[in-house]
């Protein structure tokens, strides 16, 4: 039932009939101009939200007719201060950039998880649960055993991957064997994973002696991800895991037979079955690997970030973001990395912004939604800026909805 594919690699690759140099340049410009304008528009709308929710600025607007410049000046000031603080604590300083990369790492891996499932025609809402199970497994290995780093760290990472893969695989097997819809099963598995984590955190195997709140023992030094420095930028090694994973996903999808089968099942399961591919096997494989990628996202967090402990609210740290990153990245590994970096910037910058200007961190969630909106609806941006319609690509993630 597919009317379009998820294969949208960008406007430039839209195999049209007109392939002259001018058309190519226009397509390239078109490909860049929309995301840039989308970001700009999102920041402007976000700025308006900041202005019209700040009590002091609103007071100034109340006396607009007495002092119009004052109102405008106050508005400009709060938006400028908010965004400058956002910039300074993300891209504008080496510490900020380090934090941005560290924030982007789990987003990239979880985004790859959702994107990978999308390509096989599955909607993995369950990244959150797979992250929790992955982090729980990796953390348990990390603080339970006492091994040399060369064994301990790979073992912990493997445990995290396997835990996530198993959790995602449940949904894949259920889908393949009984036809149970993955949207339902992954949502349910999310809630089950949260309760499992709570249970684990109350058990003696996880809870440090003398504590009775929901926290685990810290991961042993030998299982922590090593830090890597480039000049003043310091990140943990998980950043490279995310990059390698992106390349791996790209290679698997675009350069292997299995990848071709996965994409075929995603584009049109009926045709894929007719061509002799096992739809059931692809569903299981896709959910196993998607779960494993999400498990790695949780693993990088627990093994790479200070505190090194699981806590009760561990699952809330990523929420919708994995889906958003996958959508913004158009389910392409490269695009997912870019989207994860952008979201990393916003996450890293938001806390600095709240500290400096008391603009609540939640504003970045609004901005994220706006960015996705404008990127997903290029026609909307074109109509705002009166850009002539160029060659667009259509993408459709919903082909699996009724299958």
């Amino acid at each position: 039932m597919s009317t379009a594919t998820v294969d949208a690699t960008g406007p430039a690759s839209d195999g049209g009939t007109n392939t002259g140099v001018g058309a190519r340049l226009a397509a390239l410009a078109n490909g860049l101009i929309i995301p840039v304008l989308a970001l700009l528009t999102a920041l402007v709308v976000g700025g308006l939200v900041i202005v019209f929710s700040d009590p002091d600025t609103l007071d100034e607007w109340g006396s607009f007719f007495g002092d119009p410049l004052g109102a405008l000046e106050a508005s400009w000031d709060i938006v400028y201060d908010s965004y400058r603080a956002l910039w300074n604590s993300s891209l504008g300083s080496s510490r900020g950039l380090s934090r941005t990369l560290v924030e982007a790492t789990p987003l990239a891996l979880a985004g790859l998880s959702v994107a990978f499932a999308f390509r096989a025609g599955l909607f993995n809402i369950g990244a959150a649960g797979q992250i929790v199970i992955g982090a729980t497994c990796a953390g348990w290995v990390g603080f339970t055993f006492d091994l040399p780093t060369a064994v301990h760290l790979p073992l912990a990472v493997l445990a995290g991957f396997a835990g996530g893969a198993a959790w995602g695989g449940i949904a894949g097997v259920l889908k393949a064997r009984t036809g149970a819809h993955e949207v339902i099963t992954t949502i349910m598995l999310n809630y089950i994973s949260y309760r499992l984590l709570d249970y684990a955190l109350r058990s003696d195997a996880f809870q440090p002696a003398g504590r009775d709140d929901l926290i685990s023992k810290p991961v042993a030094d030998s299982a922590r991800l090593p830090e890597v420095s480039f000049g003043e930028i310091t990140v943990h090694a998980g950043v490279f895991v995310a990059l390698v994973a992106a390349v791996g996903v790209w290679y698997l999808l675009e350069r292997t037979t299995v990848g071709f089968s996965l994409r075929s099942v995603g584009a049109n399961p009926n045709a894929a079955r007719y061509a002799g591919m096992s739809v059931a096997a692809m569903y299981v494989l896709a959910m196993l690997l998607a779960g494993g990628l999400a498990g790695l996202a949780g693993t990088m967090n627990i093994l790479g970030r200070p505190s090194f402990s699981l806590t009760g609210g561990y699952y809330s740290f990523i929420g919708f973001d994995a889906i958003a990153v996958a959508l913004l990245g158009r389910a392409n590994p490269g695009g997912v990395l870019g989207a994860a970096f952008l979201f990393g910037v916003l996450r890293a910058g938001s806390t600095g912004m709240q500290a400096a200007t008391s603009t609540p961190v939640d504003i970045i969630v609004v901005i994220q939604a706006l960015i996705i909106l404008f990127v997903a609806a290029p026609a909307l941006v074109r109509s705002i800026y009166r850009i002539k319609a160029g060659r667009g690509t259509s993408q459709n993630f919903t082909t699996s909805w009724g299958a």
Partner: protein, 431 residues
């Protein structure tokens, strides 16, 4: 924007499922074995393993009810033993094929008996209020059922709505704000419905006019709703607490009917939300399956090209359905602030919109099915809170898991493949 849409592909001639269904016999034997296991658990955990001599009391009436139904007191241990044996016998008969193909019926009855035995065991030496359990189920089912109805209207017309969560949350926020500002819960109700309808229209514009992928559009609404309500909650509601005191609707009884034994206090003495939920189940079923309007909506969701050919305005039908769906989701959202809690809290819907989505799929895109599914989810939620209160030795985290595990088992085993409207999620281009 030019889209690379081709003509809609012709429907495949064969309708065989992509993933092979299990053969009927294996399925029957599988369920028979599952039933036997359920019976063994009942027999061992709630029967033989329980202390002897303790009675469990099931309470069916509240002191204030017009007609008092006497309490039912049964010996807890023997209840477990007898019901366990009955379930095991049912499972054996099912596996042997004596009961024919009544798999769902047998398993459903076994599950019900299991729950009775569980309650008797949990309430041994104490009492458990059945009326409270059922009343709580209806209460918790309200946002789930309304959310599922919202999704139903959208998806029957061919627009996937995963934005139910965002609609619920936004409506909850708007209801708190408007009801507080006007000092009138009805204004809040209207405000919430309007907010839902507006988001529905927004989803419609995105998916119909701009042909944004509908899952992206829904995700945008979900993220935006979470962001803007959290932001404004932190910025506005916490600065002006007066704006977060909407008050709540009160329960009222329907004269005459509320005096009926058991069903009176249960069904006919409620807040407006439960009554509206009942009305919508019947109303939506009738409208969708017994009116011309409903036939058109379904035609647009199943085969828009054919609908267009016979003169139905596909896009307008979709806009109207999505907005109506949004309004119903908005109604469901106001439940959170105007019935459940009486104030807005950050992310207070906490995934209920996704459970509603699950109820919709579980209920096979049918109003009655979605309602029953919402009741099942709500019952297991309510059961779990009641069991937690009764202080059973099962760790509370596992009790909290039960609704979700039950859902997975039911969706995997009993429902299996549920089929969405054929054109669900596909943009339509008028030629």
């Amino acid at each position: 924007m030019t889209t690379v849409l081709q003509d809609p592909p012709a429907p495949l001639p064969d309708d065989t499922p992509l993933v092979a269904d299990r053969p009927a016999t294996r399925r029957r034997v599988g369920f028979g074995i599952a039933t036997i296991v359920l019976g063994l658990i009942t027999l061992v955990a709630f029967g033989l393993g329980s202390e002897s001599g303790l009675d469990a009391t099931f309470v069916f009436s509240r002191a204030s009810d017009a007609v008092q139904i006497p309490d039912l007191t049964i010996p807890a241990r023997w209840t477990g033993i007898v019901l366990g044996l009955v379930i095991i016998a049912g499972g054996i008969l099912l596996a042997l094929g004596v009961l024919g193909d009544r798999i769902y019926l047998v398993f459903g009855v076994a599950l019900a008996l299991f729950i009775v035995a569980l309650l008797a065991w949990a309430a041994r030496g104490a009492d458990v209020s059945i009326i409270g359990l059922l009343d709580g189920t209806l209460f918790r089912a309200t946002p789930l059922a309304l959310g599922a109805f919202a999704g139903l209207l959208c998806e029957r017309a061919g627009v996937v709505n995963i934005a139910i969560e965002g609609m619920l949350l936004t409506a909850a926020f708007v209801a708190a704000l408007t009801a507080s500002a006007a000092d009138n819960t009805w204004v809040g109700l209207g405000g919430g419905i309007a907010a839902g309808a507006l988001l529905g229209a927004f989803l419609g514009v995105l998916s119909i006019k701009y042909q944004v992928d509908q899952i992206i559009g829904g995700t945008v609404i979900n993220i935006f709703a979470l962001g803007i309500t959290s932001y404004l909650g932190a910025r506005v509601l916490s600065e002006y607490p007066d704006l977060n005191q909407p008050g709540a609707f009160r329960a009222f009884g329907i004269p005459g009917l509320e005096r009926l034994p058991l069903v009176g206090p249960l069904l006919f003495d409620n807040t407006i939300y439960v009554f509206l939920m009942f009305a919508l189940v019947v109303g939506l079923w009738w409208a969708l399956f017994r009116t011309r309007w409903g036939l058109r909506v379904r035609a647009v969701g199943e085969h828009p090209r054919a609908a267009d050919t016979v003169g139905i305005n596909v896009l307008r039908t979709r806009y109207r359905s999505v907005m109506l769906g949004g309004a119903i989701a908005g109604l469901g959202g106001t439940w959170f602030t105007l019935d459940a809690t009486g104030s807005f809290n950050e992310n207070m819907t906490a995934g209920k919109g996704f459970i509603a989505l699950a109820a919709l799929i579980f209920g096979r895109w049918h109003p009655v099915g979605a309602f029953v599914a919402a009741l099942v989810f709500a019952f297991s939620e309510e059961l779990q809170t009641r069991l937690a209160l009764l202080d059973t030795p099962i760790p509370s985290d596992f009790l909290l898991m039960t609704p979700y595990i039950v859902t997975i088992i039911v969706v995997a085993g009993l429902v299996g493949r549920s089929r969405a409207p054929a054109a669900d999620g596909e943009p339509y281009v008028v030629e």
